[in-house]
Subunit: 420 residues, 2 copies
């Protein structure tokens, strides 16, 4: 993409009302726009990152047999009353509204109820199970406070998968498969090393759940981490009994702050009983379906990446989720026609080679262009200037390491082919 055409501009200063680093950097770089507290628009660069993340999540969910659908945000009171979760006293983040003819509707903050009801129309026999169904869809949560940028938004994209199994054992097998898929996802988006499967409370549904916590000082959760065994325990269940059950050695646990980037929940028969999702087993017995739910917020993943990977000049995107792979910067002064010609040619070669490239073809000062490149944080910066032309080479800089090399065109393409 030609930067000249990109409608967003970078900003030197973040808005004063924005306290979270992720929002500050994302707004400065032109990735997001704050519509109101906790409500963000994803601008072209930000949407590209978000799509990279959802693309990785989708691949991993498909691999474990997930089938994708898209449920509505508008929710009917009747369905949620069956589970007892329509009440604001039970779910305190409902947004509710009213149809023209007077009926109340809600905006989905999660989708156990409508999906359980829907699956009930298609499942009747043990032959119809198990089923793994997911969506990547916008949730609405009327959070009292929203000061963490895109880490905790009032409107946000969520991948929510629900499993429908015949037995506790069958459920448990998938639960572990999905946990493994989650670790692959966090690995692929660049959060692998810092993300721990974390034993946590099951909330109202079950005895326990598993969170995926990424170590980060601004995280809302306190967790106790066994770095060697790569597991952690959330403070909310940090008791001697829990540690015993998990065979964890208290002396090896380190207290840390974590951002909950994903969670997986056994739901048991809580919703299948409430909404009548039952099946006939092989012996003809009428049995409630065993369920689980599995969530990841792609926006929160994106915010976590920004919280962790930046320096005083801007964001440092991992290659897998960067909006572009290469930031081609033409530093052409008044006499820079030759520079522009070479840069144009190189841009065409990069695009033809399938290398996603943001090409800074703007008429702007070298200082402004280089500062913007650092702020936007694309992994590879390639500079064409009178200086590089004098050396018959291209300057390639790695945003993460800061390492700079002078390479010929062929070497550049070789480097971009091998690195990933």
């Amino acid at each position: 993409m030609r930067q000249r055409h990109l409608f967003t501009k970078t900003r030197k200063e973040a808005p004063t009302d924005e306290v979270a680093k992720n929002a500050q950097l994302l707004i400065r770089g032109g990735f997001v726009h704050k519509e109101m507290a906790g409500v963000y628009d994803y601008l072209p660069l930000g949407l590209r990152v978000l799509n990279k993340i959802t693309g990785i999540i989708r691949e991993e969910m498909d691999k474990i047999g997930g089938q994708e659908l898209l449920l509505s945000a508008l929710q009917s009171k009747e369905v949620w009353e069956k589970s007892g979760r329509w009440s604001d006293g039970v779910i305190d983040v409902w947004f509710k509204s009213t149809l023209t003819h007077g009926a109340e509707v809600g905006l989905g903050n999660t989708h156990e109820e409508p999906l359980t009801a829907l699956v009930g129309e298609h499942v009747s026999s043990y032959k119809d199970l198990p089923r793994y169904i997911y969506q990547i869809q916008t949730k609405f949560r009327n959070e009292l406070r929203a000061k963490s940028g895109i880490l905790r938004a009032r409107e946000f994209l969520m991948k929510d998968l629900y499993s429908f199994s015949r037995t506790e054992e069958e459920f448990r097998l998938f639960y572990e498969e999905c946990a493994a898929a989650y670790l692959r996802i966090f690995e692929r988006v660049g959060l692998g090393e810092l993300t721990y499967r974390t034993f946590a409370s099951g909330g109202p549904f079950s005895d326990y759940s598993d969170e995926f916590q990424t170590l980060c000082d601004v995280g809302e959760d306190t967790i106790y981490v066994d770095e060697e065994r790569r597991v952690a325990v959330n403070k909310e269940v940090y008791t001697d009994k829990t540690l015993d059950d998990l065979h964890l050695d208290k002396t090896r646990l380190v207290e840390k702050r974590g951002i909950e980037v994903g969670n997986i929940f056994p739901l048991g028969t809580r919703f299948s009983e409430a909404l009548g999702l039952r099946y006939r087993d092989a012996d003809g017995n009428d049995t409630p379906v065993v369920m689980g739910s599995y969530g990841i917020g792609p926006g929160r993943v994106m915010g976590t990446i920004v919280e962790l990977y930046s320096d005083n000049r801007g964001i440092i995107w991992p290659e897998s989720v960067a909006p572009f792979r290469v930031h081609l910067v033409a530093l052409a002064g008044e006499e820079g026609k030759g520079v522009r010609t070479e840069a144009e040619k190189l841009y065409t070669l990069l695009v033809d080679a399938g290398i996603e490239t943001l090409y800074d073809d703007r008429e702007a000062s070298p200082g402004e262009k280089l500062a913007d490149a650092d702020l936007i944080g694309i992994p590879w910066r390639v500079v064409v200037s009178e200086k590089t032309q004098a050396q018959h080479a291209l300057e390639i800089k790695n945003r993460k390491t800061g390492a700079t090399e002078m390479l010929g065109e062929k070497e550049l393409f070789d480097e971009l082919k091998t690195e990933n």
Copy 2:
């Protein structure tokens, strides 16, 4: 995809409360689920169709220089008060809700206001224009009546593009480019021949607008069509003066019903003035930006296709938007092991060849499988049975023409390669 794993089942009868043909067939085929009147979930088959349609729209919008973003559904009162459109008296389809701390919020039914305000933060000079910005995003409209299935939903996906130009002339050039792109889109999704650019009222914003009307008996609009010149006039502006202005000959116009599958609107400076979107022109004059808006509802396009292309056995999808290209059906009786082996092998070959295939590997009767294939409406049905094995061939049937051929494996792949 293996049909054995697909969680949805077909239904012989449509729900009795569903009067629209599109909803009846889509529900029976397992494409959509009705959450409440005017609110539909897109099930795996339906989501595949929807994604095909949005994919085509996205390609065409990118081709004319559109840049994609994603605006929030939640809307702040302050922004909309500036244009005077917060009031329910002005926009009568608002869904509104309340933040926990008491502020009112709306759910976006269109996005001129927030996008104009946002663009104002990034545009200041004539060098920053023109800009073409779009999204494929969920709109909410609190329709009083919702009986047309997915043709008029209370929650629906919309592609809305907004143009920001320096002058009326510059705007007009893009307006025509976008009109041409719209015709390409309707052509590509299979509605080309039946879709007419239709002169219509500009509503509150301008003197006129252009609708894209697809001829269909259940359409809500009455239009007058010049079939030879391929243009039409909406009844709302069907006056002698309009016909004169458009050089249309009344005697050649035929009255038809149409579904408005797209519309494009000159907005002039209505929103740029209200929201302060101005730029300095080349002479340093402070000037309001000239805007336009361009909408297509992918769900409505999908519903229109179903209204038009079906028979008494089910849907007939155009190839470009079909959920799969091939429906491979194994008709294996008790002794059908050989059939299943051949079908499995063929399924692998089809998938490896990149041909999207739904493979009916269920244990069900031949009658049930063939009826389901007709209802779901995938363009090519390939049957493997004891009968086809006896002939050392495969039976391939075109859903649209009904033509059946017996082909060898190589011939089948040749046919699938050439047809499109």
